[in-house]
Symmetry: none
């Protein structure tokens, strides 16, 4: 990864990076979600801003939220990978250390040694919480390794092993299909023998505790991750960064990168109130609005349109704060017609006193494609934000 550290200079200017998750779309009746939305405030802003499109990973590559956010913050997502277990653990409020191994687990149903339901009938989150509390009360450690168990949603929970000598190179216990026995955990390298031993003992103890429960009388392990040890934003960019997000994964990424995750209620209005309240305490704000992505994933074109309009209505509250640099973009596109993330580049809007200003009347994918910033790698976004806040020095004489 190229460093821009040598160019950095500190000033008081403030940057806000607004991520409207899955914003970019595709046409339905000729117009995309963003084109279909009535967005008078965004449009006024777009006219005096510079527009572009950003490529999250590479041409044609559809990113998950993790890689897409890493790229947005300037980290090459093909160089840095964050295990999903880490993101989930961080998201539910666990502080992950470099001695930890995070494991994704599912409650499951076992009968005569055979997994008959890998999701235990998708038990309720409340039942999950009860079972995790039960396991936590009975198992605190295995040999010298601390064991932390935290419920997620429905049948999903997270196990964190904490101690010296842990290694993620162990096999999964999930047979991936119902009506097979669970697999024994095997070390995949000699360094992982201890981790495999700890896990096999843990599974034996925990399954004895669950044995009279139903349907969640067993559990499967299906993903191991250790701390990715990413360079922190404060160090890489000499920023004092804060994150305003409501969903676990995004808070998790922000924490990994050393952002302070601000308390906020789970709605867009309150996220913006939080931004207003904490405006003076940081010089970089990452503000994440999640639900547009979910409407895209649901194929709810009109629902996504309405949420974009909702954002537009809230935009004046953000503009009032007079950030020195304001960027509105997305992590990845989620076209309702695809009902999934996609490879299409992200609409990108950059406002500061030092932009060319493209004069387009509407914030849209097609205008962004013609924008003065061009189509560029998402990993370059932070450099543009720093430059427009005059935080980068001249290179050479």
């Amino acid at each position: 990864m190229k460093t821009i550290e040598k160019y950095l200079q500190i000033n008081e200017k403030k940057i806000v990076l607004i991520v409207i998750d899955g914003l970019g779309g595709l046409p339905y009746n000729e117009k995309t979600e963003l084109e279909s939305a009535e967005t008078p405030n965004l449009n006024r802003l777009a006219k005096i801003s510079s527009l572009g499109l950003t490529i999250p990973v590479d041409y044609g590559i559809t990113p998950g939220s993790g890689p897409a956010h890493l790229a947005l913050f300037g980290y090459d997502p093909e160089q840095y990978e964050i295990g999903r277990g880490i993101l989930e653990a961080l998201g539910i409020g666990l502080e992950i250390t470099k001695d930890d191994l995070c494991i994704r687990a599912n409650f499951a149903t076992i009968k005569n040694g055979i997994i008959i339901d890998r999701r235990a009938g998708r038990i309720t989150t409340e039942e999950n919480q009860r079972l995790c509390a039960l396991l936590s009360s009975k198992i605190k450690s295995v040999s010298d390794i601390e064991v932390i168990i935290k419920p997620g949603k429905e049948h999903r929970f997270v196990i964190v092993l904490r101690g010296k000598g842990l290694n993620a190179q162990v096999s999964e216990s999930d047979p991936q299909k119902d009506n097979l026995p669970p697999k024994k955990i095997q070390p995949l390298t000699s360094e992982a023998q201890k981790t495999a031993d700890v896990l096999n003992i843990f599974i034996k103890q925990a399954s004895e505790i669950l044995e009279n429960e139903w349907p969640a009388n067993y559990f499967l392990l299906r993903g191991y991750a250790q701390h990715p040890d990413l360079p922190l934003i404060s160090k890489r960019y000499r920023l004092k960064p804060a994150a305003i997000a409501t969903y676990p994964m995004y808070k998790g990424i922000a924490k990994l990168l050393g952002m302070e995750v601000l308390d906020t209620q789970e709605n867009w209005e309150d996220e913006i109130i939080t931004l207003q309240k904490r405006y003076h305490d940081f010089d970089f704000f990452y503000v994440h609005f999640k639900e547009t992505d979910m409407k895209g994933e649901d194929g709810d074109f009109l629902g996504k349109v309405k949420l974009i309009e909702k954002f537009d209505a809230l935009l004046p509250e953000i503009l009032k704060l007079n950030f020195d640099v304001l960027c509105i973009t997305a992590d990845h596109s989620t076209p309702a017609v695809l009902k999934s993330h996609s490879w299409h580049p992200n609409p990108f809007l950059l406002y500061s006193p030092y932009v060319l200003g493209d004069g387009y009347e509407k914030f849209s994918e097609r205008n962004c494609a013609k924008g003065s910033l061009g189509i560029f790698p998402q990993t370059k976004v932070m450099q543009l934000l720093l430059a427009h806040s005059l935080k980068l020095k001249k290179f050479g004489a």
Copy 2:
């Protein structure tokens, strides 16, 4: 070369990549060849497609057909080089193995040990065929090396040496100018000694056979190439690829990359009939239309315009097939005003249900420059075709 293998997923969707050789041009009386052509069908398609421009090798670099095609198929042409001898040998129907050394040869006229015409007065192809047959009948091998001799056009022919221990690092015999003696073949590395010995013996034997011919009483060697051992398209992209082309070099490239080269007659209409007939047998079709490039090379602006109009008239026959992804582009530009290949990027049109659709009324270089795909490396084309046919999985969670 970056691999996208890890992203691949298999489905039934079909891709057609149409290469109108040398399509891009430059203005004559303000309009390029493509802009001057009446192309109602292309224009209707362009309006609902995404447009862009592709850079074959690098800014300002004019590619030959080999590198330009390699780039188009996703192979970095500065990493992978295919010797022209290999392409010609494959093009005339020779199956080249990894034990082969391909050599380009020219019939020449020698007098008193001096080459007085390096092209033997450009003898007819028929005379060439007769002489190659004569040489073939008299020389089958030199020591343990099999010798294969095949005529090309006019004075050009191909020699393939087949056997163990061959090496391309030998000097050429062509003095590059008339009125000089031919050069003795020298090994350029110690591993090439055997090859040099075989070639010097072969030249001696063959020139004795030709000694009473006129004007083609000698020949010069001017290019050695071994099998480039390129990763196959079937493996790199998990596609079942077919090529429809009428010229040797393009068939040769397709074969090297593991495409099945389909039998077709030497006209555009029949190439499209072949596409229709074999539609069900493959999921990736490379269709090559050659003559536009030749008109460009000839400086025949109007001739090129007319061929573009001919393609436009044939386009509905291709559209009827309802490919999931349809791409119309070129390998390199051949502006009639330059009478040669050029460095200008290629007009690029991509149609699938998952494109933004740029709304431009005409398929032209200038509209492509404003297109939503931007100006991008030609080596990324295959990634876009795979993405738009939903053959690439999401990266990360």
